[in-house]
Symmetry: C2
Subunit: 168 residues, 2 copies
């Protein structure tokens, strides 16, 4: 299971703090197309622009705070054809989320520092684990080291945030 | 559009006749998993066993004789994960079709000579064209060269044939 907590941050402030404790891994320019399916399921095609890769992803949200996910991902060789297959199968397109992601690692903890077009900066701290409580303890310990607290948490999904903006 | 006509054949009889007019291209061991979706749509994951490739495919049947198809295919990097995503999205598994396919080419005509597990031998003669009538004329001209006639045509889909067998 993927356990992650999302914090609202400012990249400029948080980046040096992350770099003091974790190792830079890689960066990605992501262009995500979400399809309308009923929560707690999520369906998207992700284009990783800077690697010319496409990933079909299904997520199932396991908790009420959007912190625990079952995730299944497969690489697909063509974004537009995958999009067309999903449309033909009856799935309607929902929002598009574009972000620039810097990924850092510290042991089994992944830091995804995201600048999201139209939404701002966020840090997802992620641990793959079958023990969500223990994983969250670890995440909170690291969040403390970065001076992040409960009030910095953003429990809403990116696509929920994006819909709020576009429906204004 | 994919235009193809399927004939019931015996591989031993037809193979030398095809080899006399067309060029051998490649062979494939295919393991197709079909999902239950309402006709005229078809949804499958194809594992090409001998190339370790997987293809997610959607087909829309455009005619009453199952000879004209719109087809969209994408390569996926994992058969089981793709299967799991489709199941999570609510698609039920239908039949599995396994075949050994010999592919020959003559200009824009593709010969797919199939030995299908449990169903027998078939030859699909295929042309990609936006003019189905002209494509069928071409297919019938070649079928004549192979001594195949209207009574050799099998208009049913492989998965229909497989369901007839398994429901006996």
């Amino acid at each position: 299971m993927e356990v992650e907590i999302k914090f609202r941050v400012k990249i400029e402030d948080i980046k040096p703090k992350i770099e003091a404790i974790a190792q830079f891994d890689h960066e990605e320019v992501q262009d995500d197309l979400y399809f309308s399916i009923p929560l707690p399921s999520l369906l998207r095609i992700r284009r990783i622009v800077n690697r010319n890769e496409n990933i079909l992803g299904y997520k199932l949200i396991k908790d009420s705070r959007n912190e625990e996910f079952d995730e299944i991902e497969v690489k697909v060789d063509d974004f537009e054809k995958t999009r067309e297959i999903l449309k033909r199968l009856g799935f309607k397109e929902d929002v598009r989320i574009k972000k620039h992601r810097y990924v850092y690692k510290l042991d089994d903890v992944t830091f995804e520092l995201n600048r999201v077009e139209g939404l701002g900066d966020f840090l997802d701290i992620e641990v793959i684990s079958n023990d969500p409580e223990k994983a969250k303890e670890k995440i909170w310990k690291i969040a403390g080291m970065l001076r992040l607290s409960e009030e910095d948490v953003e429990p809403r999904l990116y696509q929920e945030l994006m819909k709020e903006i576009t429906s204004r």
